[in-house]
């Protein structure tokens, strides 16, 4: 820090010397008043460039140089003429005022710039907060309402069961939202560390299927036989599959087909989850992976599931994308690296 301050003062001195040399060179054609103008012009530059202290130094140095080099008798600090004193005084004051103004101007400009950036950040933060607090408040309202009803006397047993069930469901929803928020924060902070191991993708699909109730839909499997081992964090890829399957069961009409596929493509495995739902509005194929994006009429989700999927897949240096199927509905696909391609020649083959 101190070095930077010193260099600004040095800069101010160097500029004084340069301005004096320039003025001296031009003094043949310039009147002494014009020389004063040169110093004043340069003082603006010094103020903007080096700030208050160095610009005061410049004002003093330039007055001294003007007296020394341009006021008779030359090359002394003496003066024959009383009016020269006045010129010098006016020059000093003007230079100070100009630099003061220039510095203020610069500061204001910075403040404006900073506040625009801050306002934009603030706007995004507020948007996220309002979205999150709405998501949290809805289940909380149900839980508060239902549990306070339970505390009243004389409830029919049927109603007690209903209320307890609703508390349980809403608490689970709250828990999902909080988990998702923690996941996305974890992913976005870059704190995610992959525990990569070789896995057969069918094992992970099987584990994910056991976590998603799919009784309302018909499941179709298109998993290629004999797929090689993928090199992934099994728990996280299971999470991606669960999120995609949950989305599919949420949007696809009852008894429609949800198709799960896995196939090899070069050095990768491509996994896909297809549903017979409404599909993605054209143009939203990228936006749908952003945080807090929900499909139309969806009030139940946290708007984080797909953002989490994208975060996990990107951490694997892989890709995830969505397309609409010709026959209607959405097809989400992601790639996974093979164990062999990562560890050829090492112990993982």
């Amino acid at each position: 820090m101190e070095k930077a301050v010193l260099s600004r003062y040095l800069g101010s001195i160097v500029v004084t010397v340069l301005a004096t040399l320039l003025a001296k060179a031009l003094s043949v054609v310039l009147s002494p008043t014009d020389v004063v103008m040169i110093y004043l012009a340069v003082s603006v530059f010094v103020a903007v460039r080096f700030g208050r202290g160095p610009s005061v130094l410049f004002s003093i140095l330039s007055c001294a140089s003007y007296n020394f080099f341009f006021v008779e008798p030359l090359y002394t600090f003496e003066m024959y003429n009383r009016s020269s004193w006045l010129t010098l005084l006016v020059m000093l004051i003007t230079s100070m005022v100009i630099s003061g103004q220039a510095i203020n101007l610069r500061r204001q400009e910075q403040l404006t710039l900073e506040s625009t950036g801050a306002a934009e950040n603030e706007r995004i933060k507020n948007l996220l907060l309002s979205s999150v607090s709405h998501d949290l408040r809805t289940p909380l309202a149900s839980i508060t309402g239902a549990s306070s009803s339970l505390m009243q006397d004389g409830m029919p047993e049927e109603t007690v069961k209903e209320l307890a069930k609703s508390i349980h469901q809403e608490a689970e929803r709250l828990s999902r939202i909080v988990s998702n928020l923690l996941d996305i924060t974890h992913i976005e902070s870059g704190a995610i560390t992959l525990n990569r191991q070789p896995y057969y993708i069918d094992e992970l699909i099987g584990a994910a299927l056991s976590r998603v109730p799919s009784g309302r839909h018909r499941l179709e499997m298109h998993v290629e036989k004999g797929l090689p081992l993928a090199y992934v964090d099994g728990l996280l890829i299971e999470q991606v599959l669960v999120n995609l399957l949950e989305n599919a069961t949420k949007y696809a009409p009852q008894n429609s087909v949800i198709a799960l596929g896995a196939r090899r493509s070069g050095d990768e495995i491509i996994v896909s989850v297809e549903d017979g739902g409404p599909g993605i509005p054209p143009g939203d194929e990228k936006r749908i992976f952003e945080k807090f994006t929900r499909r139309a009429n969806d009030k139940s989700g946290s708007g984080l599931g797909l953002a989490i999927c994208e975060g996990i897949i990107k951490a694997h240096q892989s890709h995830i994308w969505v397309e609409n199927r010709a026959e209607g509905g959405a097809r989400f696909s992601f790639t996974l690296p093979l164990a062999v391609s990562v560890s050829e020649g090492t112990s993982h083959v």
Binding site: H168, A171, E172, S175, S179, L182, N195, Q197, P198, Y199, Y200, D202, E203, L204, I205, G206, A207, L209, S210, M221, V223, L229, D233, G234, L235, I237, E238, A339, S347, H348, V349
Partner: protein
């Protein structure tokens, strides 16, 4: 059910609200719960009178829950169900490897907890009463003494490694066996990092048993943790 017939369970948990609901759920489902609020208190209780089963919160204020398991396993084989917060995957695996029987991630429901408790108690009883008997579940029959494996009555021929793998899963049937435990017991200590062996042999074993990993009938995959034989 009289008080004496109830199954004594110790709960080591510092959160009062969790204790409150566990107390209600356990007492009304055939258990007689005792509570310890700290690890020290819990260990003292375990040393004076051993319950039939222990419910242990891993996140205790005074000591690491893992140390309680380690210490308990020095003198007792009672089933231990671990309660953990989400994202404590490493702790869960460590708990299983130290000899915990199962884990529940908070938040969990009473139904889940009771199911785990009953399964763990059943396993504990079985391992005492029929250590050498033939294991049978879901159409799989495993006769360790005569080295005969049958699926739906038809004999299945396994290689020695596949047999060791299945034997270990059968020994801990219903309980997750971690990757490390499987690798150490089946292949020996040196290969604890070579997970791909485990994948490949498990795949072979599943193929021979006619077990579809997409809809497993016998062997359940627990990603990041291990495998479990369905009971």
């Amino acid at each position: 059910m009289s008080e004496t017939q109830k199954i004594p369970v110790l709960v080591i948990e510092d959160e009062p609200e969790i204790r409150k609901f566990l107390s209600a759920a356990l007492a009304s489902n055939g258990f007689s719960p005792a509570f310890a609020l700290t690890g020290r208190e819990g260990l003292a209780h375990l040393q004076s009178r051993v319950p039939e089963i222990l419910i242990l919160d891993l996140g205790l204020p005074d000591m690491d829950g893992l140390d309680i398991i380690k210490s308990l396993r020095g003198w007792s084989n009672i089933p231990v169900i671990v309660l953990s917060a989400r994202g404590q995957e490493k702790d869960k695996i460590a708990a299983l490897e130290l000899g915990a029987d199962d884990y529940l991630t908070k938040p969990f429901s009473t139904g889940e907890l009771l199911a785990r408790l009953k399964a763990a108690l059943r396993r504990a009883q079985q391992s005492v009463s029929q250590a050498s008997a033939v294991f049978e579940a879901n159409g799989l029959s495993f006769d360790a003494q005569n080295r005969i494996v049958k699926v739906d009555g038809g004999e299945v021929r396994l290689t020695p490694t596949e047999f060791r793998l299945l034997a270990l899963l059968v020994k801990h049937a219903g309980k997750i066996v971690t990757h490390k435990q499987l690798l150490q017991d089946v292949w020996g200590k040196s290969s604890a990092e070579n997970n791909h062996y485990l994948r490949i042999y498990t795949q072979h074993l599943r193929q021979k048993l006619g077990d579809d990993p997409l809809h497993p009938r016998f062997i359940i995959t627990e990603p990041g943790v291990g495998y479990k034989l369905k009971v």
